[in-house]
Each structure stands twice: as structure tokens, then as C-alpha cells.
Symmetry: C2
Subunit: 670 residues, 2 copies
Amino acid sequence: MVVATQSIQELCINAIRFLSIDGVEKAKSGHPGLPMGAAPMAFVLWDQFMKFNPKNPQWFNRDRFILSAGHGSMLQYSLLHLYGYDSVTIEDIKQFRQWKSKTPGHPENFVTAGIEVTTGPLGQGIANGVGLALAEAHLAAKFNKPDATIVDHYTYVILGDGCNMEGISGEAASLAGHWGLGKLIALYDDNHISIDGSTDIAFTEDVCKRYEAYGWHVQHVENGNTDLEAIASAIEAAKAVTDKPSLIKVTTTIGYGSPNKADTAGVHGAALGADEVALTRKELGWNYDPFVVPEEVYNHFHKAIERGASLQAEWEETFATYKTKYPAEATEFENQISGKLPENWADCLPSYTPEDKALASRKHSEICLNAIAPVLPQLVGGSADLTHSNLTEIHCSGDFQKGAYENRNIHFGVREHAMGAICNGIALHNSGLIPYGATFLVFTDYMRNSIRLSALSEAKVIWVMTHDSIALGEDGPTHQPVEHVMSLRMIPDLLVFRPADGNETSGAYKVAIEADKTPSLMALTRQGLPNLAGSSIDAVAKGGYVLSCGFAPEELDLILIGTGSEVGLCVEAAEKLKAEGLKVRVVSMPCVELFDQQDEAYKESVLPKSVKKRISVEAGVTYGWERFVGDEGVCIGINTFGASAPGGVVMEKFGFTVDNVVAQAKAILG
Amino acid sequence: MVVATQSIQELCINAIRFLSIDGVEKAKSGHPGLPMGAAPMAFVLWDQFMKFNPKNPQWFNRDRFILSAGHGSMLQYSLLHLYGYDSVTIEDIKQFRQWKSKTPGHPENFVTAGIEVTTGPLGQGIANGVGLALAEAHLAAKFNKPDATIVDHYTYVILGDGCNMEGISGEAASLAGHWGLGKLIALYDDNHISIDGSTDIAFTEDVCKRYEAYGWHVQHVENGNTDLEAIASAIEAAKAVTDKPSLIKVTTTIGYGSPNKADTAGVHGAALGADEVALTRKELGWNYDPFVVPEEVYNHFHKAIERGASLQAEWEETFATYKTKYPAEATEFENQISGKLPENWADCLPSYTPEDKALASRKHSEICLNAIAPVLPQLVGGSADLTHSNLTEIHCSGDFQKGAYENRNIHFGVREHAMGAICNGIALHNSGLIPYGATFLVFTDYMRNSIRLSALSEAKVIWVMTHDSIALGEDGPTHQPVEHVMSLRMIPDLLVFRPADGNETSGAYKVAIEADKTPSLMALTRQGLPNLAGSSIDAVAKGGYVLSCGFAPEELDLILIGTGSEVGLCVEAAEKLKAEGLKVRVVSMPCVELFDQQDEAYKESVLPKSVKKRISVEAGVTYGWERFVGDEGVCIGINTFGASAPGGVVMEKFGFTVDNVVAQAKAILG
């Protein structure tokens, strides 16, 4: 069926579809099905509702858009190109999924301007959206005035069946409902097809009813393929409900327009093939060559450029008025969204001497957070229902709740994965907010993909992970991390800190806060730790340093390398060995990644190559420590699961004792 | 208030409560609140409904009980003790949370007979329960006859607010509803308190409505503290609904009976303290010393011993009849639940020569699964919506679905975490079933805690993880594992295989299937791999072996160590180097953990200490390879995130080329 004449809306929607089809076809790789089916809802949303400025993708007050079903990335690239974003030219579209292109397989915020968050792992995007909406609500509550609204935008998400099957989306939706985030509007592309085929085979729940149970406002657009008015009305209605997030289930046909592949899993994740592309062109009446967009279509889309410029100008005017009336707040606002830290902010961090009381590093973390919080109002965060175990409460603020969005303590409930993605969303709101999320270290296993995505997508989040070893004791092996510290070190671009005492905890926070785009993870003890002679706030930035020595490198018999709670053990063992005439250096290694980044000269000054006898001590798996102890070294650690018993007993039984370190030292020294 | 006279039911419930209180009090550690509040529902369930034999905790046809809220472990230990299980004596109760006790902090199936699965990490237990119920449904469909029912039990779960907040429980519940697992009955201990306080602060959704949306039968017992009849009626009603799983929300008071701490977070995770224990004794009219249980109470509980014996006897009689009528099926049943493998089963595994076609190792995995499936009918499993990417379909069977429980292909939907816990549940049904679960390797991040728990709880599961490196190409860094293989190796008691070709894939399956209690994880390629000269099925059991050499150890210039897709690269590089007169050995290391378990002589035979020039090649992070390459070695890998482009391009750009390996070799050989 050839469509004789098409409205400009139809032409625009088909332009989105065919750029997507052609991009995938040229790459011979990608997911055409979603863009073909979701093009109408995306067009209505961007054309009639979204507030954005193509020539300034980072304009603060823009509406945020997330494609949670990130495999449909060509939809987003098509939109960015057609609306006149400089980040995606027609050449970029032709380079879809090619080396160094601006149009990678899944949307990557750190590659393509106009992409807010990195999606692809399903369910992350909708949970990021909750974070973006939270950030907006918080800043609005904090900065807006009755006569001047400077923070006011929506967060729109398109998510698919896959996102809705993932548990993380349920966790995040439950929180969004609890918080009543009315400016979060999610369009659920209900195309009833996932990779394995019809959703009938594994996904027959009533999604709308489930979202109602979470406290969302829920609507259903039955014909998302052609009923543009119904889509527009639903978005309108969603905006009118201000105290609940909205889900709009939009029933569509995956691969709409493809005569032989529409409504099948075949169109989900593979190019249509030349023949079917030709048939689809015919079916949808699209008589243009690949990558050709008719002038009138560009003209329509490009109206958004002027619209965006006036929206921004209007906002700037509002802000100018605000600045006149509320100069102090305006300055705070500008400072915050610039991401600049106050000068000398780090002076607030506490320092310690060995005379200071032994405290758990989780307690030192609490002291840091509460020292920082008054100085850095952009610090917000909380725990997955372990506030008083993780010690993450900001005492100078109340709880972030519906009606109290200005507060900074976030209760995530027992929802680690959503916490992770929400923190990423807060960071990627790019308004200077520094989020932190906390749970027991072992439960990083529940949120590992979000931690990974914080590193990949340059979301500066602080992950506060307490109860960092078998020394937590009685809760037993289900709660005792063994492999976690080492396995988290494997994630690129994530700094993992395991501070030995108060100074090192302050040092870890110093690096974490001053980081530009890098997330940090704190592994903190449950048990008390002495404050060590020689420990240093500043040395933490080098990752590893000589904590105690007193000998020239060439004199050294042995180097003991410890992290966290085991540095104190190394110090005690070194004392004993020194008493027996041995020349021992203790190296504290709070951050392996930072140490690896130092130049060779510095590394040699800490771990001289000539000293071959080395022992690492860490209450975790030893695999990985060979990098630092070398061929003649020994690694003291635990390579099995832990056990339930009081912490001191567990540590002793697994060999974390001064006597064992001393014995192993004597053994390798022969 | 002193209770003058108590019914035997009340006495029994108080006995559960006070054993729990006293156990926690003596340990000065633990969670008394849940046992105190959930004792009534647990008592009604075990006393009136549960089918079990205390003197044979492994009796096949027992009802399964899971305490998904595992922190309330003292509830389960009290039940096991009171009902006469030999595994938990009163002395064991007194040793709660002590070194080597039978009563660790959280329930551990591998420590305490009568515990079905290991819980503590929230939400895992209810998802394990779905696996147990699936196993029952499958075996029932497979073995039961119209005139002889030999598989027929319920799976009961007690879960809490924390479990219901976790996404994994939602994923699992959605599947249970989809499958219509009518013999799964979950009691939701609705005590509206979690660690941070009232659930009002983070959990205000309508849980019942949500489960209805999943297709569950839902009831509410409003007074779970004292209305035993209502609890019993609800369980009765739940049993009557045979085509839907049931949720019974039982509203209770956490710490019921404690005058000052009931209904507060204070009673959740800490001992009550001597004074409050005394007050609670008074309040509940319990005039017995710690750990003292009146004779009449024991007598009542111990009726279960005789009851259990007759239940088992009755079942054995049924089975005897079955055996007479259906001898072949009876033999198959006995063989299967014994866990014994048919002799020579491994003969079905394919072997290859270099002349055989290059195939992806995921394809070899598919061939293995389909070679094994007819020989081992106990093999069941599937993928999280990536069946035709992971290549995990068993072709000789259909899909496990409502009404087709006899089938072996399970569609988990996009629910990796629930898949993990469900597979664990299937394995821990202890009926010989060997489950497998599949997704992309990068998405082990979504299910890492379940993988860890498979190792900890000795659940023999095969994790089939495909698309195992940046070589997957266009999908880009969100989908490209980099740190995963190495970080999974860190998990104790998990075997991680990265086979190089067809033979090694067969070898990996051989070890995985023959393992007694150890889970295995397969890291498999998307891309084709040549079948290598010298590769071996049997050598895989040693973890690493000499694939090609031709030189005596003392002659060797260099050892190249590769895994998976990079072994072929090593072979090619070795050829080039040999052509230049260098003496090079290629070691394939499909399983680092198994290699580490070999004796020193074997390890020396593969990696002679005298050969210091070594290069590891693996398309993943290099951290960890120092163990094998030593001080003078070099690690070739990728220590950043990957990038979106065709797989061959990505591999080349990141240095996985013969030329680079050759260049690095020359560099270290000086």
C-alpha cells in the first residue's frame, strides 16, 4: 500500500523510522524494531512537549529524555540529528556502530551530546530517570521562590518490556511512587515482543496494575502506531497529575511498517535486509534514498532550534530576575551547578593522631560525611535500609520525602540496585549534586551493574560500603565479603578505597569529592581500628605509601603491604620483627588503582625492586596481590567463604593475627 | 500482664519465641524481632500443614520450607530443635552464632540438616522457593501416574518486608504467577518495620495488589499475632487454589511480647537485653529459665516424629506400588534423585580435530547441551530472554510452561537475578536435577549474588555465559565484559571456564556435570574459533595444560598463556616466533581455579619455574595474571572499557593481534 499523501507529522515519523532502518542496515547490526514502533510516541513527545535547546544540549532547565530500552539507540540518534543537534550529523548516522563514531551501539552520554545517561543494560534507564526526577525535585524545593521558578523540568523515559521485567525497574518505580515524583513520565512501549518471541512465553503479568500498586498514575494508549492525538492527550493528562509519577502504556507494533517482519522477534535485533527495507519503503510510502530526509521534514524539525533558543532565553530572563531578588541563592545555585567546590573545602576533613580514639572506619566515614555536608550542600545520599549500620545520615538535614524534597537524607529501602541507578541519575543530572549510596559491601553484588555504569558513564558517585570483611563476624558467610574488594578493583575507572584509619578515611573522601568524573567506592570496617603513626590524608591520593620504615631501601629485609584493617596488623607484626633485628617496612595501600597510576620512580620509592621479600595482608582473596608481592612474596588472605562467629574469633581462626604474619615473614626470610 | 493459663498452642508458640530470644541473648547478637512476631504463623504452618520427617530431613516428598527473611534464623533453629531434628540440639541453640556451630547467623543448608537453602541476602529465598516449586511441578509432571502420585509436596516460604522491597522477589513472583505454580505458598510477615524504622519511610506501595498483578492468589490475615484460626484458614484456602501461587499477607507485630521494644526497629537486629527479656517473660507469662522447654511442649512438638515416620512410610508404600506397576519409570526416578550419572555418559560429548569447522564456543556449548540432554534427562534450564544468542535450547524438549511442566526449556524472561536464584532452588531440591541458566557474561552483574550463593550453598548449577569479551563487537561497552572473567574467578568454590575450542568446551561440560556440589560458569564466545591442534577434553580437568610445545623445559625461551578465544592467537604468534628460531610453549588455561588445585609437580610441568619470560593473553583485565606470568612476564589484556565497532575491529584496536603478541614477546626477550 502506497500512501499517497502524508501529513508533515507522518513524514517526520517516517523520517525517524527510516534513518533508524538505514543506519542499522548500513551497519548490518542493531535494533530497528523499537525505533520503527516507538517513533510516533517519541515524535509526539519531542515535538509537542519536550523543552530542549538543540544548540545547547546542557542547558540547565531542559527536560530530560532517557531511552531506557537503549538497544533502540537509533531512535535517539535519529531524533538528535533531525532536531538539529550538532553532535549527530548525517555522517554520524552513517557511522552507526563503527569505531570511534558518535553513534555507538547503545546510547553513551560520554560520547554523544544530547544523551543524558548511558543505557542498554535493561531497567537502568528508568531507574536513572527516578534519579533525575529526584534531583529536579530537590533543586526545585531548594532554590525556587514563590515569585521565581528557576528549576522546573520533566523527566521523560521510554522503556520497554525488557525494562519492565527487570527487578531494578520495580524497585525504582516503587520509590518513585513513594516519593510522589510527579514530573517523571514514563512511556512504556508495549510491543509484546522480546528477544525470545512473544511476551506471552514469560511475561503475562498486569504491568499497569503493578504500577498502580506502586502509587503511579497509569494510562493506556491502545493504538500507539497511528493515534498521535491519544498519545498527546495521555502526556497532557500525565502532566496534569502533579503528585504521582505517570506510566503511559503505549501499545505498538515492533517493526511497524515491515510487511514480513513487523510484530516478530526477527525485527528486534537484526537489520531488516535489503529486500525487506525496500518493501517497508513501499509499505510506508517513503520514496527517498537511504539517509535522505526531505527538506520540509528538516524544516519542521528545525523549528525546535528557534524554540529551544527562546526557551533558554526565557529561562535566563527568569534567572536574571531571580539573581536580582535573591543574589545569595543565585550565587549558590550558580556555584552548585557549575560543579565547582568551595576553596579550601577540604579543611573541614578531620585529621587524627595515634592518641585519638580507635574507631571503625565506617564511623570515620560518618564523621567525614558530617564534616563535609555543611560545607558542600550538594552532597545528598543515603542507605539501602542500613542507615545506622552504614552510618550515613547527614545530621544537619532531614529526610528526603514527598513534601520535603529539600532534605538530603534519602531512604532507599532494601533496594540496592535501584539505589545504584538512582545515584547515577542524580550525578548525571549535571547540576553539581554529589550523591552517595550505601549498603553492606557484600551487597555490591546486588548492584554491581549500576556501580559499573557509574564508572563507564562518568557519574561521580560515592559508594559507601561498610562491613568490609569477615571481621563483621556473626552474620556469617552470606554477609561476609571475601572476593568483593578485589573484584571491585577489576572494574575500570572506579577507585576502590580501603582506608586503614581516620586519616586515610579523610584522604579517601578528599579524593572522592575532588574527582572530576570518577566514582569512588569506600570499603569500611564494622570494627574499631587504631589511628596509626605515619598515616596520612594526603598520601591516599598516591594510592600506596610508606607508613613506617626507618631503613634505607638497600637495608630492608622485608616489606609488609596492608590495606584497611590489616595495616594495623602489619604495624604490630613489624614491631615484633624489628625487635628481633629485622629491617621491615610497612606500606599502606588504601587504593591500588591510584598507586598503579603513579610514575615508576614513586612506585620504586615505595616498593623498591631490590626488596623481593614481601607479604601482603588483606582480609580478602589473595588473587591479585601477586602484582605487588612478586615471585618471592607471600599473600596472607582468605580464599574460602567466611564463617559465623564473633568477629575477633573469625579473624583469628582465619589467620589474621600478628603471630601468623610474623611466622610467615620468618618463613620467607628463611 | 501474666497469662494465667495458656493453651498448648500458646505454649508452643512461646517456646519458639523464647528459644529465639534466649539464643540471641546468649550470643549477644542476632535478630529476635522476626521470630517473636512470626512464631504463630510458623507454628500453625508446621503443626497443621507441613509434611516432614524430623528423623529424615532429606525424605524426598517432604514439603519444603524456606525462611526467606534469613536474619530470623533463630525461628528456624527453634522449629528444628523443637520438632526433634537431630541437627539442632539445645546445646546447638546455645551455640547460636559461635564458631563451627550448627546454628550460624543465617540459615546455611550445608551446615544444618533441615535447612533447604541458604538465606540472608534478602529476596533470594522466595526466588529459591520458585525454583523448588518448579522442580516439584516438573518431576510431578514427569513421573506421576494417574494411579500413583509419587511427587507431591508444597513449598512454603516466610518472607518479610525486606524481601518484598528487593527486585529479585518481584522478578521471581512474576515468573511464578506466569507459570501458575499452585503449590508455592508464601506467608508475608507484614510487620511494617525494617532496619531504618517504619516501612512508611520507604515502602508504601500496595504489596497485595502487586502480587495480584503477577497473577497470584492473595489473602490478608489481619491479626497474625493471635488469630491462629485465620492463619490456618488462609493456608487452607491457598492450598485449594491449585493454579496460582499464593501470597498470604500476615500482619504481625515485630518483637511481639516485648513491652518496650515491640513494633520498633530496635527489636529487629539486636538482643533485647536482660531487663527487657525479663519483662517479656512476664508479659507473655513464660516462667521458665533460659533454654528450658516444658515437657508438655516437647511432647506436643515431638508428635511430628511419629507423624513424619508414617508420612514417609505411606509414601514408600505408594512408591512400592509405583515400582511394581512402572518399573522403568521407578528406576529412572531412583537414579535421578540419587544424583548418580549413567556410566559412560560423557561418551556423548563431541570431540574435534583441527579439520573441523571453526565455531563459536557458544555454539559448541549448544552442541554439548544437546548431546547431553538425551542422556541426562535431569538437565533443565534456559536463558534470560537470550535463548538464540546464548544457544541454550534443548532441542529434544519443549518449553516449560503452565500445563507443560514436563518440558525442560525454561524461559526466564529478562530476569537474570531471579533466574539465578531459581536455578539454585532447582539444584537444592536435591532431586538430581541439574539446572543451567544463561545470559550475556556482562549481565552476571545483575545476578552476582545468586552466583555467589550457588557456590556457597553447594548448588550444582551450570551458568552459561556467552558474548564473553569485547570481541562481541557492536553492542559496545555496556555489553562488553572486561573485568568479568577475572572477577568471577575471585568467588570461592566457583569454577570459571573459558574454553578455547570445541574440545575444551566438551571438557568444561564434563567437569561441570561430574562435579559433586560445585557450580560452574562457562564464558563463551560470540565469534568463531578454530579447533586447535593439541586441545584436549580431559586436560580441562587440570585447569591448564601444555597445548603445544616441542621443546624441553630448559630449552624454552618463552611461554604464552592464553584462555578462550586468545589461545588461538597464542598459537599463531608462537608459530611466527618459532619461525624466527625462538622456542615457545603455548599453555591453554581454561580454568584457573582447577589449575591452582593441581600439585606442584604438575604445575611445574606446565609452567617450569626456570622459564621466566611469560606472556598471558586474555581479552579482559590483566590484573590477576601476575600470578602466572611472574616478575619478568607481561600481561596482554584490556584495562579500560571496550568500544562499539565490529568485533574484529575492536579486537585489533585493543591489541589482540598476532603482531602485537609477537612484538611484546620480542620486547621481553630483549
